[in-house]
């Protein structure tokens, strides 16, 4: 897949993008705190990854590799804008995003994007929207028991993916 990605094979590019664009965007947003700039950083990250794909070691995991590119790209944008507009509110608010936190966001989003649509929906409604199982059942018009089993399956899946948050890559 990576060889095809490096050669600009459209299906491979789409596959890599679909797998990691959410995580890269969430990372960029955590650092830059602005959707427009995060979108720019996300696009630049994938184009940079494509350009440097020949240097990718297939024995390493792809996630940490593209994470490193994304983090560098977002920080570069942040630093350039901080130099240009030192009093900009973005510059003032971005300092708080620690790199550990950025890595957590990247990993969690990458894991969430591996879940099935049904599983991801329940996790989102439960944690982000704060809905109870009954409320989710009403919203989705499915039995509460289905929500509970789906929720357990989703969280079990997340534990397997994130049971040990890995150390941030160098």
């Amino acid at each position: 897949m990576l060889w095809r990605f490096r050669d600009g094979d459209e299906e491979a590019v789409k596959a890599v993008y679909n797998r990691f664009s959410g995580a890269v965007f969430a990372l960029s947003l955590t650092i830059l705190r602005d959707r427009g700039r995060a979108a720019d950083a996300t696009q630049m990250t994938f184009v940079k990854a494509w350009r440097s794909a020949s240097s990718y070691d297939p024995d390493r995991e792809f996630g940490p590799w593209i994470y490193s590119i994304a983090r560098r790209t977002a920080i570069d944008i942040y630093r350039k804008e901080k130099r240009r507009v030192p009093t900009d509110s973005v510059a003032a608010t971005t300092e708080g995003a620690s790199m550990v936190r950025v890595w957590e966001v990247f990993q969690v989003r990458a894991a969430v994007d591996v879940l099935s649509d049904d599983e991801r929906q329940v996790v989102q409604m439960s944690h982000f929207e704060g809905l109870t199982h009954s409320e989710i059942a009403d919203r989705l018009d499915i039995p509460v028991g289905t929500v509970k089993s789906r929720s357990h399956r989703a969280h079990r899946h997340l534990v397997e993916l994130l049971g040990h948050l890995q150390e941030e890559p160098e």
């Binding site: 459209e10 993008y17 664009s21 184009v47 494509w50 989003r109 948050l165």
Partner: protein, 211 residues
């Protein structure tokens, strides 16, 4: 109950016994509750990635530059223009052709360069600008290529409010027939025609330099 089930229950509810790693499960719980985690990039990002990769647009990228030589030869043959052939013979398209951009009396200190590169998808036009201020709210800049016959074609819009990173614009027409490059200041909602406010300009044949 297996430890994974206990952990899953703790992750779902924040209650119960998590056999180990409770701290990192708390981090995951905190992260999935945040809006940032669920944000989706705009569709234009995917389109932009594919567009750049399809075109191999970076004129400064070694790989692209090497690959671009046959494309340029093909483009030169197809176009059959003396200018392009001459430029190729002189090696002037190694990094793309540079056109110097200068501010008009409306922005006299603004300077910049446009790098023109033929691709399979059209002409990639990278623009580097200095001292052109961000467009005010309600306004935007628009790039144009303009023919000597007075016909203009838009090559894209931008505002510079978030910095002056090199701009990537595109021309779907042959820039050799539209040798003038303009940047205009446009008012939102004022229609697609070029405004009277031309802030920068350059010309391919007179200002063309090679990089």
């Amino acid at each position: 109950m297996m430890s994974e089930d206990l952990a899953a229950r703790y992750l779902a509810t924040g209650t119960g016994d998590a056999p180990e790693g409770k701290a990192h499960l708390d981090k995951v719980r905190r992260t999935v509750a945040e809006q940032t985690t669920w944000e989706v990039p705009p569709q234009s990002v995917a389109e932009g990635v594919l567009s750049e990769i399809r075109a191999g647009t970076n004129p400064f990228d070694e790989r692209t530059r090497r690959r671009s030589v046959p494309r340029l030869l093909a483009a030169a043959l197809a176009l059959g223009t003396i200018l392009l052939v001459t430029a190729l013979a002189l090696g002037s398209f190694e990094k793309g052709t540079r056109v110097a951009l200068a501010g008009t009396e409306l922005q006299p200190t603004a300077t910049g360069s446009a790098w023109l590169q033929p691709t399979d998808a059209g002409w990639a036009i990278r623009i580097d600008l200095e001292d052109l201020p961000p467009a005010d709210a309600g306004y935007y800049y628009e790039g144009w290529v303009w023919s000597d016959d007075g016909e203009g074609v838009s090559i894209g819009t931008f505002h510079l409010r978030n910095g002056t990173e090199p701009l990537q614009l595109w021309a779907g027409v042959d820039v050799l027939e539209y040798p003038m490059i303009w940047i205009s200041l446009q008012a939102e909602g004022a229609g697609p025609q070029v405004s009277e406010v031309i802030v920068m300009q350059g010309r391919l044949e007179s200002a063309g330099e090679s990089g």
